[in-house]
C-alpha cells in the first residue's frame, strides 16, 4: 500500500552505540588528536577545502561520531601540503594525523 510518504532515517547521533573504534585507535597512536577544540583554523587555511569540503576538524569529529564513509571521502581530497599543521593552535600534527588515519583505513583489522 502506498500512502504517498516514506520514513526518513533518523540523523541523530547515538553516542553510546556508535562505532568509534577508528578514533580510539587513532588516539592511541596520536594522543594529540584528542585535544582538537574545533576552532576551524585547519579548514580555513586548507587549499582543498573550498573545492572539496576537506576539513581536519570535520575529519576528527566524523571519526568520533562514527562517520566512516564521510571521513574517507574527505581524506581523498587532501594534498598533504601541511598548512593545517602550521596553523593548529593546539600543536596537533594534523598532517601526521591524516596519514595515520589513511593507514588505519587501509589496515582496519591489521597491526595498527
Amino acid at each position: 500500500m502506498d500512502f504517498g510518504f516514506t520514513l526518513s532515517p533518523s540523523s541523530a547521533i547515538e553516542l553510546d552505540t556508535l562505532d568509534s573504534a577508528l578514533y580510539r585507535k587513532l588516539c592511541r597512536i596520536e594522543p594529540g588528536a584528542r585535544t582538537c577544540i574545533g576552532c576551524g583554523s585547519c579548514s580555513a587555511t586548507c587549499t582543498a577545502a573550498e573545492y572539496s569540503g576537506m576539513s581536519v576538524r570535520k575529519l576528527l569529529l566524523g571519526l568520533q561520531r562514527g562517520k566512516k564513509a564521510e571521513v574517507e571521502r574527505m581524506l581523498s581530497n587532501c594534498m598533504l601540503c601541511g598548512k593545517c599543521t602550521m596553523v593548529c593552535p593546539r600543536g596537533i600534527n594534523t598532517r601526521r594525523v591524516i596519514l595515520t588515519v589513511c593507514r588505519l583505513y587501509d589496515n582496519v583489522e591489521g597491526t595498527l
Binding site: S11, A12, I13, L15, D16, T35, L61, R90
Partner: protein, 343 residues
C-alpha cells in the same frame, strides 16, 4: 603605622571572604566581629572536597582559620536583624538580641548555588541518576549517595545550569563551573577509568592560570569527550538510566546518549535573602541581583556609602583566590577609611 584604636568592624558572613577579611582587620589592629547565619564557618568552600586547578583539599584552605580567628568574636546561627546608620557609626541589631556598634561594615554575604530543580527539563529531584556539582563534592567526601552507581558505564556533565540563562533569571556567567566540571570529570575518570565521560558545554571559559592546561589534560590524558551543545532535555530510560538529548553543534546533528549518572553544574547566583539588608543601608543592587560596587575596576570592594564595604561573591561569581584577594583589599579599604576619618 597601625591605628592605635580598637574599633569594632562588623563582618557579615563567615565564608572565606568574611574569615579572611576578619583575619586581615585583626592584623591591622582593628576588632572584627563575624556574624554568620549558619552554625559553622566556611560557607560554600566547606561543602567542597577539592579545589581546582591543583586538586587542593578544601580543608587546606579552611583549617588555618581555626587558629587565625581564635581571638575574633564570632556569632554563628545569627542573622542581622537590622543595621541603623548613626551619626558616626552603625548599630547592628543581631537576631540574638544583641546590638553591635561598629565603625564600618564589610558585607561578605556570598552567593547561592542555583536550585537545579528549577530547570525541570533536567530532572533533578525527579530522576534518581541526576545530581548536582555540590552533591558530587559531598559524595567525594562521604562516598555515600544512592544516586551514584557503583560502576557507571557513562557519566555526563551539563555546564551552565541556571547561569547564562536569561529565562532562569541569571544572564551572568558563573565563571567557575567550566573548570569545576573538568575537575570533577577528571576525578571521576580517576575513580572509574573505563567510564565514558561526556561534558556538554555552550562555551568553555577557562580563563585562569593553569585552567587551559587542565582542559588539555582532560582531553588528551583522560579522554573526556567535550560536546558543544546545551542539553535540551533529560528522560529516564526503562532500566532506570537517563537519556540526554542535545545538539552536537559542531556537526549540526542531534545527539543522544544514555548515562548512568548526570551531574548538573549549578551556577553561582545572587542570594535574594540579602535584598532586605541591602535596602536597609541604602546599598544598591545590580541588575543581576548582586551588590553593586562603587565601580567594577578600581572600586570593586567599595560602595558609595560611607563605611560600607564589600568582599567576595556578594558582588558576583568569583574563584577562591579572587575572593581571598578581595577580602584583603576590603580590609585595607576599611583601614584607610578609618585613618582618613582620624585626621
Amino acid at each position: 603605622m597601625l591605628l592605635s584604636m580598637k574599633e569594632t568592624i562588623l563582618v557579615v558572613g563567615g565564608g572565606i571572604a568574611g574569615m579572611e577579611t576578619a583575619v586581615q582587620l585583626k592584623a591591622l589592629g582593628l576588632t572584627p566581629v563575624i556574624v554568620e547565619k549558619n552554625s559553622s564557618l566556611g560557607g560554600h568552600v566547606a561543602q567542597w572536597n577539592r579545589l581546582f586547578p591543583d586538586m587542593t583539599p578544601a580543608s587546606k584552605v579552611l583549617d588555618p582559620y581555626n587558629d587565625a580567628l581564635k581571638e575574633v568574636d564570632i556569632y554563628t546561627d545569627t542573622e542581622i536583624a537590622s543595621i541603623n546608620s548613626l551619626q558616626k557609626e552603625y548599630a547592628a541589631v543581631l537576631s540574638n538580641g544583641k546590638t553591635l556598634r561598629c565603625k564600618a561594615v564589610v558585607f561578605a554575604t556570598g552567593f547561592k548555588l542555583f536550585e537545579a530543580e528549577k530547570k525541570e527539563e533536567y530532572g533533578y529531584g525527579i530522576y534518581d541518576r541526576v545530581i548536582t556539582n555540590r552533591d558530587l563534592e559531598r559524595w567525594f567526601d562521604t562516598r555515600s549517595d544512592e544516586r551514584v552507581p557503583a560502576k557507571p558505564a557513562a557519566i555526563g556533565f551539563v555546564h551552565c545550569v541556571g547561569s547564562r540563562d536569561v529565562k532562569a533569571g541569571n544572564s551572568q556567567c558563573s565563571k567557575v563551573c567550566c573548570i569545576t566540571a573538568i575537575k570533577q570529570a577528571i576525578e571521576m575518570k580517576e575513580l572509574f577509568p573505563d567510564t565514558e565521560i561526556y561534558c556538554f558545554y555552550m562555551d568553555l571559559r577557562l580563563f585562569g592560570k593553569k585552567y587551559e592546561d587542565f582542559y588539555i589534560n582532560a582531553q588528551r590524558d583522560y579522554g573526556i569527550h567535550f560536546i558543544r551543545g546545551r542539553v535540551s532535555e533529560v528522560a529516564e530510560t526503562i532500566d532506570g538510566r537517563v537519556q540526554v538529548k542535545a545538539e552536537d553543534t559542531l556537526s549540526g546533528k542531534p545527539v543522544k546518549v544514555k548515562l548512568d549518572l548526570l551531574v548538573l553544574m549549578s551556577g553561582i547566583v545572587c542570594d535574594r535573602a540579602n535584598n532586605e539588608l541591602a535596602r536597609s543601608v541604602s546599598l544598591p543592587l545590580d541588575e543581576d541581583g548582586f551588590f553593586r560596587s562603587l565601580d567594577n575596576i578600581a572600586g570593586v570592594t567599595c560602595t558609595d556609602r560611607k563605611g560600607l564595604f564589600l568582599a567576595g561573591t556578594c558582588t558576583g561569581p568569583k574563584t577562591v583566590p579572587e575572593t581571598l584577594a578581595e577580602a584583603r583589599s576590603a580590609a585595607l579599604n576599611v583601614y584607610q577609611y578609618l585613618k582618613a576619618k582620624k585626621k
